[in-house]
Structures are given as C-alpha cells and as structure tokens.
C-alpha cells in the first residue's frame, strides 16, 4: 500500500486530503445544530445595534477586546457570568477575540453607560488614567452604514431563519419581539428612533444635532451595540 501511494501523486494527494479533512469533519460537523440553539434571553440584533457591531468590526475592536468570559472565579468576578454557547447564536461572525489588551466586553452593557462610552471613545485616558487605548475621534463624524446592517438582517432572516418579528422568551418570563422593517426606509426610520434614545443620554451637541437632522454618527450605533452586550 505504501509503495503504491508513493508512486501516484494523485492518490497521494487524495490521501493527504482525507487525512487532514477527517479531523475537521469529526470535530466540527456533529455538534453544529446543537451549538447554535439560542439560550433564553438571547435576541437578534436590531438594525442600529447591528450597524454598531459593524463599526466594532470595522475598527477591529476585537484585536484587543475579547467577548468570552471563561469559567474562572477571577473572570466571573471581573466580567460577570461565564459564557454559554447559546448566547452567541446570533453572532455572525463570532467576536471572541484572541487577545485581551483591554478588558472583556461580553457584558459591558451591564456596567458601562452611554455617557461613559461617549467620553471614553473620544479620549480613553481621560476616563481611565493610564489607558493605552487610542482615541476613536472619527466615530463622531463618520456616519453609520444603516443600509448594510439592514441588508444583513434581511439576509440572516431569509437564509438562516433568524427569528425577527417573533416573540422570544426572556429570562424574566416575558416575551420580547425584535422587529424587522419590511422596507429599507422603514429600517432607516426605526434605526433613527433607536438612535434618538441613545442620544438622549449623550452630552455632545454636535451628535444631538446630527441625529435631529436624521444622520446617525458611528459612535451612536457603536454605543447602541455596546449597551446591548449583557
């Protein structure tokens, strides 16, 4: 058998391929359906939150911040409950990160406020003395891409049956529905409504004016996303 393989590059290639492929098959495939069941309390992202998630990704926040709390006392003390698989059911892509240059953000919505984020992104060291995080000043002038966020919502709803417009069970026993507009215009309008709620807690006059004029700066979307991380 071995003699034969050595002399036939094509079958040799097939052999290598099978060898390396079977590890992936065994590891990944069987658990697929099970791992993607949402836990109670997990909701899909709203349009504005998803736009904020795109801002997070655009600026590679995941290069320095993880979103994975490991089951150690030191981590649950610092960040809150450890991660459950189902909590990530609507995360495409996952944003666990691989390096904590800054703290974990999986439950940052529990202990940081809109106001805190507003100041922090503008000048991190003013809020956290000694911080080595750079300032993200452009978030205050760039506009969030609501259209693409809506396109992604439509895509995941149609292709992966993400439960928008469906009552979902919450931890306190109530039901909540994340609405998805039928049209792009509808989505833009609802994102703007969401943005107004966020901006109500913000100090910057420029941001408030921008939202009042129907624009959504990236920072507003990002904060909406951060506040949703609980």
């Amino acid at each position: 058998m071995f003699h034969w393989l050595e002399k036939h590059p094509f079958f040799f290639a097939v052999g290598v391929f099978v060898t390396i492929a079977f590890a992936g098959l065994i590891e990944i495939v069987p658990n697929f359906a099970q791992a993607s069941q949402p836990v109670i309390g997990t909701k899909p992202y709203t349009t504005l939150e998803l736009a904020g998630r795109h801002v997070y990704i655009k600026n590679s926040c995941n290069a320095c911040h993880s979103q994975l709390v490991r089951p150690f006392k030191a981590e649950t003390d610092r960040y809150g409950d450890y991660s459950l698989s189902g909590e990530y059911a609507f995360d495409r892509p996952f944003l666990w990160g691989s390096k904590r240059t800054g703290p974990d953000l999986l439950r940052v919505g529990n202990y940081r406020t809109t106001d805190w984020h507003e100041n922090h992104m503008k000048d991190p060291a003013s809020v956290v003395p000694g911080s080595i995080m750079p300032a993200y000043t452009w978030l205050y002038t760039n506009e969030a891409d609501i259209d693409t966020a809506y396109a992604e919502q439509v895509t995941v709803k149609n292709v992966f049956s993400v439960p928008y417009n469906t009552p979902l069970p919450m931890k306190d026993g109530s039901k909540e529905t994340v609405a998805l507009a039928d049209t792009l215009e509808g989505a833009q309008a609802s994102a703007l409504e969401e943005a107004k709620l966020v901006v109500a807690d913000m100090k910057s006059k420029d941001i408030q004016d921008a939202v009042a004029a129907g624009k959504i700066p990236e920072i507003v979307a990002l904060i909406a996303y951060m506040n949703s991380l609980k």
């Binding site: 071995f2 003699h3 050595e6 002399k7 036939h8 590059p9 094509f10 079977f22 069987p30």
Partner: protein
C-alpha cells in the same frame, strides 16, 4: 445511537486506524528499506544534492511509460 455517540466511536475508530497505519508505515520503512522500484529510501536524499538538470535522476521517468499520474 445519538450523534454524540456516533462522533465518539468515529473519533476512536479513526484514531486507532491512523495509529495502526502510522506504525505500519514505520515498520514498512525500516523492514523493507527499499521502495517498490527497488531504490533505497535514503538515496532519495540525492534528489536535493544532485539536482542539476543534467544530473541523472534517482528514479527516472521512463520514456515508454504513459504520464497518467498527476494531472
């Protein structure tokens, strides 16, 4: 049989198969010492050392053999 059991058996079975194959290969190499063409495995090192285009190949592709290998 649920999928997790199947996964466990599959994992175990394939691992055993691969271990057997690998050790079989070790045995094959060191007992046979030469490959199917009757060439000592160790002489293949010369493929790197004598790699000028005019050097004699260790195991020459003969002219009459059809080149069906690869693609």
């Amino acid at each position: 049989m649920d999928i997790a059991t199947f996964q466990a058996y599959g994992y175990f079975g394939i691992t055993v198969f691969m271990v057997v194959a690998l050790y079989g290969y070790i045995y094959h190499l060191y007992s046979k010492k030469k490959d199917a063409a009757g060439i000592d495995y160790e002489s293949y090192s010369n493929m790197a050392l004598n790699d000028d285009i005019t050097d004699e190949p260790v195991n020459k592709v003969s002219d009459k053999e059809t080149k069906k290998v690869g693609e």
